[in-house]
């Protein structure tokens, strides 16, 4: 019973807070300014956290009247993700609290925070397709409020890309779900992989779903929104984006892709290739960035690329799916916490003086080591589990292990680059006056290791000794450090070419293309008259339409003429003629009409 109440509260409590906030705003109240209120907002995910940690047996609640029939459930497999998300939200919230109380645009910030958080945690406990999709959308769209929080032009530009990509993702997800669940009125998430397996459109459905969620997880090619959003949002927002919300995408993939139910070798291979592209590409572009948050953003792209590898492999070879799912879950939890911690670190550093900054950067280095997969870190565990899961496909792609290790090197480079940037960034943004509790706690969590959160019970047998294999873990890091050294030397000698890849990479040429297309197509869809007014050159369609329009207008002019009906007068003056003609006609018709 308590469990059910908790479950309801998880969603209802933040929603209630949001409602109160909106009401207060409408009536010009001052709720949003109150200090106690900011605590409520910050700690709104507490029910979620308690539910996630406490629900060892699982809680289930059926709400047939809701949406298309809804089922809420915390099952053991998702507890970790839910707990991690709740934690990230709370920790980031602690960083946001000062902004809640006296930042600009408080109301929309708090509202966005609450709603996105609700969507995020609810998406992790809703089991039916419609409900999941609903909360996923709630999270995605509300996050816009957070992304554009600073209201700068850059933020708006980033927000626009974010929303566009989100909508794109949403419709892809919807299509995927529809294709997958054809014939099911109110399907559960668990039905989806099964349904796909039997569907004749399995590949299409899978692709749609993967791409749809791939927007959220910033799969390469769908990642355009990420650098901008991370860069221009406040770092705690980046923390929840990259630490919690991203995992909703991961969960979406895990829940809906037909992992283990059907073999889609081509698609699996494609996903692996794309993933690796993301992993290396993200690293490559990331190290050329100049802002710590941007670098961290590319790190997310890179990490998520890595995460795609087990997913692709599981699609390719269904038998490894259980292991892969466990690995991905672990990876996601680890990455979420670590990335959040790093962003919070950035937030802390920005508010610190020079001395404290050194401290902050060094602590961040600890977290970064975890991200890079240094031994005895959660990163190492994630990496090893992943490798283990991929063991069975090694025969297909023997180079996969190496690639993953190389990618770890890339991660290391990114971490170093991020820390370097962080250390050199001048203090900007809002100064966090209070003690950065959230960040410190996050560092603690990461350092202590994530698996204490309770690893998925469905996880594979623990790969005992192998994960102490320090060599396989260390050489990529070492390689990276060598590279860093080389780079530092080259830089000091001014040998390093000053390549700059703009933040947003491929988006830049795409945007240029879009502007060009728009310029070409200005006339499309306008009324012909408007087009004529704007002095556009005559078009083919205009040339075709012109005679018709002229004809119609002259006809109209004829109708409009308001003078006495001359035609009738004319007829009247020839009335005798008409009569005569008709007489003859009628006589003939009668005479000869019979035959």
């Amino acid at each position: 019973m308590i469990g059910v109440v908790l479950l309801v509260l998880t969603v209802a409590w933040p929603l209630a807070l949001a409602t109160m906030l909106a009401t207060s705003a409408v009536f010009r109240g001052t709720l949003q300014d109150a200090s106690w209120w900011s605590w409520l907002v910050t700690l709104a995910p507490i029910p979620a956290l308690i539910a996630a940690l406490g629900a060892t047996q699982g809680i289930r609640l059926e709400l047939p009247w809701l949406l298309l029939g809804s089922v809420w459930e915390i099952d053991p497999a998702r507890r970790a993700l839910l707990a991690a998300a709740a934690l990230v939200w709370i920790l980031a919230g602690l960083h946001m609290r000062t902004r809640f109380v006296d930042g600009t645009h408080r109301t929309s910030l708090q509202l966005g925070w609450l709603l996105a958080m609700t969507g995020n945690v609810a998406a992790m406990l809703v089991q039916d397709v419609a409900g999941f999709y609903t909360f996923f959308a709630l999270m995605s769209f509300s996050a816009y409020l957070l992304v554009v929080h600073t209201r700068t032009d850059d933020a708006f530009a980033a927000g626009r890309v974010y929303v566009a990509m989100t909508v794109f993702g949403e419709v892809l997800i919807l299509s995927g779900l529809l294709i997958a669940t054809r014939g099911l009125s109110s399907p559960l998430l668990t039905d989806v992989p099964v349904a796909i397996a039997t569907s004749s459109h399995a590949a299409i459905a899978t692709l749609c779903l993967w791409m749809g969620f791939g927007v959220k997880t910033a799969v390469v090619g769908l990642h355009f929104w990420l650098p901008g959003a991370y860069t221009h949002a406040p770092p705690p927002v980046a923390a929840v984006l990259g630490g919690a919300m991203i995992n909703a995408g991961v969960l979406g993939m895990l829940s809906t892709l037909p992992l283990g139910t059907v073999s889609l070798p081509t698609l699996g291979a494609f996903i692996i290739v794309v993933g690796l592209t993301g992993a290396f590409g993200g690293a490559l572009v990331g190290i050329m960035q100049h802002a710590s948050v941007t670098v961290l953003g590319y790190s997310s792209i890179s990490q998520m690329g890595l995460l795609m590898v087990p997913i692709g492999a599981a699609l390719h070879t269904p038998s490894i799916a259980p292991l892969a799912i466990g690995a991905v879950t672990l990876f996601a939890v680890h990455h979420g916490l670590a990335k959040a911690s790093l962003f919070l670190g950035v937030d802390t550093a920005r508010g610190s003086d020079r001395f404290s900054r050194v401290l902050v950067v060094s602590l961040c280095a600890l977290v970064g080591a975890s991200l890079a997969g240094a031994p005895f870190t959660s990163g190492a565990a994630a990496k090893l589990v992943t490798k283990y899961a991929l063991y069975d496909v090694a025969s297909v792609w023997p180079w996969l292990g190496t690639a993953l290790s190389l990618a770890a090197a890339g991660t290391t480079l990114l971490v170093v680059r991020a820390l370097w940037c962080l250390a050199h960034e001048t203090a900007e943004g809002e100064v966090v006056s209070s003690w950065p509790v959230g960040w410190l706690m996050s560092v603690g969590l990461v350092v202590l290791g994530v698996w204490s959160l309770g690893l998925p019970s469905a996880a594979p047998a623990w790969p005992g000794a192998e994960w102490l294999d320090a060599v396989s873990l260390m050489w990529p890091i070492a390689l990276a450090l060598v590279l860093v050294g080389a780079a530092a030397w080259a830089s000091s000698q001014r040998l390093l070419p000053l390549w700059r890849v703009p933040s947003g990479d491929l988006l830049v040429p795409l945007r240029a293309l879009w502007h060009w297309v728009r310029a070409q197509g200005t006339g499309i869809g306008r009324d012909p008259s408007e087009r004529a007014k704007s002095g556009a050159s005559p078009t083919l369609s205009g040339a075709v339409a012109a005679p018709v329009i002229v004809a119609l207008q002259s006809l109209r002019a004829r109708v409009r003429v308001e003078h006495p009906a001359r035609a009738d007068d004319a007829l009247r003056s020839v009335a005798p003629i008409v009569f005569g003609v008709l007489v003859v006609m009628l006589l003939l018709l009668f005479r000869f009409g019979a035959s």
């Binding site: 298309l68 927000g159 929303v163 014939g183």
Partner: protein
């Protein structure tokens, strides 16, 4: 079987019709300054009608039949009948009429010609009710034309040259459409006879009729109805008719005119031909194509509009065709989607038009570009607008999502997966033209003073304008969130569809 006493309810359809017909006449006779009486008449009639419709809906759910039938002319009966399908539309009209009436009272405060306005307003709803309850094609035609006539004075209400020209365009389309519909009905009747709407189609054995002529009749009917339903290329009147006062636009777009067309298409496909016969005749696929083209074209045109109401108008063109699309998707899911959208679109679009009206009345804002920062000045209206816009895009848990979900299912079920592409594209376009507005509302600072601001005491705008806006917005959310509740639009659509398919 039925908990309601089995009354021979011939008077119920009549009463439902009368609750707006009688007030219409009374109001028209009322002197201009008798505002109190007029308001009481308006609201009283709306409430009574809602109650009657609710009662009837309840009865129909339990299988009761309410029918009024008498000979209209040789060979043709005048039939008013409440079946599940009619209650779908009647319920929508009755509910939204109440809100629109409230809204209009506030909107027209102090304006001239109110007796005329509300008279024709009521007449318009009477026609809508008649369309809903019509039990055969001729009766449908009667009210369909009555609708044209009663909406014309509303469209030209302002009496400006612009609105008069709009009225002329409106008439050209609708009267022309009516004529085509008349031919269609006449042809069908001459082929089959005066048949009443039946759940699985009035056409019992299509084999005994000339299939080509049946097809011709079908397309004539669709062409006639397509004018009001604003199917491309018959949609030209709709954006132009935007010059009408906001409550009228709301009525035209959400309840009355376009819906009458859409509902007519529903009737023709399901209750006249029967969906299975229509499928056998091969007319559903072209209809789906037509609807798809309309959906996309409307959305594309909407992108280029700079006026709020015009953008909404093109959006309507696009959205209403979802209904036709759902109908054309053979199979229960598509039907459910289409029928549910009939209601959902009404809720969402009326919300949007209310909001547009609120902006115009309170701030004097007509162009999208002038909306910057309106969210701060009018948060409730803007929230409602946001809900409506997101609903249109199909974002869950709003009503639009539910329709799209079932339409999508229907597309796949009927073997027209490309329709899914249309839906996706349309959603993207919807987002592309709605989200910038939402963005302006909330995230852009106000840059210029409002063109024509009115102050309404403490509230952001006139209470009469605000309450219906909130109500419909809440319904938009409710229809989605509680989609699976009994008597929700979705469930009612399911009930209807369960009776439409024979197998």
């Amino acid at each position: 079987m039925s908990p309601i006493p089995e009354i021979s309810g011939w008077w119920l359809p009549l009463a439902v019709l009368g609750t707006s017909l009688v007030p219409a006449l009374l109001i028209m006779l009322l002197a201009e300054h008798r505002q109190g009486v007029r308001t009481v008449l308006n609201l009283g009639a709306a409430v009574v009608k809602l109650a009657l419709v609710a009662y009837m809906t309840w009865g129909v759910a339990f299988g009761n039949n309410y029918e009024l039938r008498f000979g209209m002319m040789p060979g043709v009966d005048f039939v008013l009948r409440a079946d599940a399908m009619s209650m779908l539309f009647a319920g929508l009209s009755a509910a939204l009429w109440l809100f629109t009436t409230i809204y209009a009272i506030g909107y027209l405060e102090g304006a001239p010609n109110r007796s005329r306005f509300f008279g024709f307003f009521s007449l318009c709803v009477a026609s809508t009710m008649g369309i809903a309850l019509a039990g055969n094609l001729v009766t449908f035609l009667v009210f369909y034309e009555l609708l044209t006539l009663s909406t014309y004075p509303l469209v030209v209400h302002r009496g400006t040259p612009k609105s008069l020209n709009a009225g002329r365009t409106y008439l050209r389309y609708t009267i022309g459409g009516g004529a085509v519909l008349l031919v269609g009905v006449a042809l069908f009747t001459s082929l089959v006879g005066d048949v009443s709407f039946a759940d699985t189609g009035a056409l019992v054995s299509e084999a005994s009729y000339d299939a080509t002529l049946l097809r011709v009749a079908f397309w004539l009917l669709i062409a006639g109805l397509g004018v009001k339903a604003a199917l491309v290329p018959l949609h030209g009147w709709l954006p132009i008719a935007m010059v009408a006062p906001a409550p009228v636009s709301a009525l035209l777009h959400a309840v009355a005119v376009v819906k009458a067309g859409a509902f007519g298409i529903v009737r023709v496909v399901y209750n006249v031909y029967g969906v299975e016969t229509a499928q056998a005749l091969g007319v559903l696929f072209p209809l789906a194509v037509l609807a798809s083209i309309t959906i996309l074209w409307g959305s594309v045109r909407a992108l280029f509009q700079t006026e709020i109401k015009k953008r909404l108008a093109y959006s309507t063109i696009s959205q209403v065709s979802y209904i036709a699309l759902g109908i054309a998707l053979f199979g229960p899911w598509g039907s459910i989607g289409g029928l549910a959208h009939l209601l959902h679109q009404g809720l969402m679009k009326i919300t949007l038009f209310f909001c547009a009206g609120n902006y115009a009345e309170t701030l004097g804002v007509h162009d999208i570009a002038e909306l910057d920062g309106a969210g701060r000045r009018m948060p409730v209206t803007s929230a409602a607008f946001t809900i409506g816009a997101f609903g249109m895009i199909g974002v869950p848990p709003l009503a639009g999502f539910v329709s799209k979900w079932y339409l999508g299912l229907g597309a796949l079920e009927s073997g027209m997966p490309w329709v899914l592409g249309v839906l996706v594209l349309s959603s993207l376009l919807n987002a592309a033209y709605f989200l910038p507005i939402v963005h302006r509302l909330w995230f852009r600072p106000q840059t210029a003073p409002w063109p024509d601001e009115h102050s309404f005491g403490t509230g952001e705008t006139n209470r009469w304008l605000l309450i219906p806006t909130i109500a419909t917005a809440v319904f938009t959310v409710g229809a989605g969130v509680f989609a699976n509740m009994p008597y929700s639009p979705l469930r009612w659509a399911m009930l209807v569809v369960a009776r439409v398919y024979t197998q």
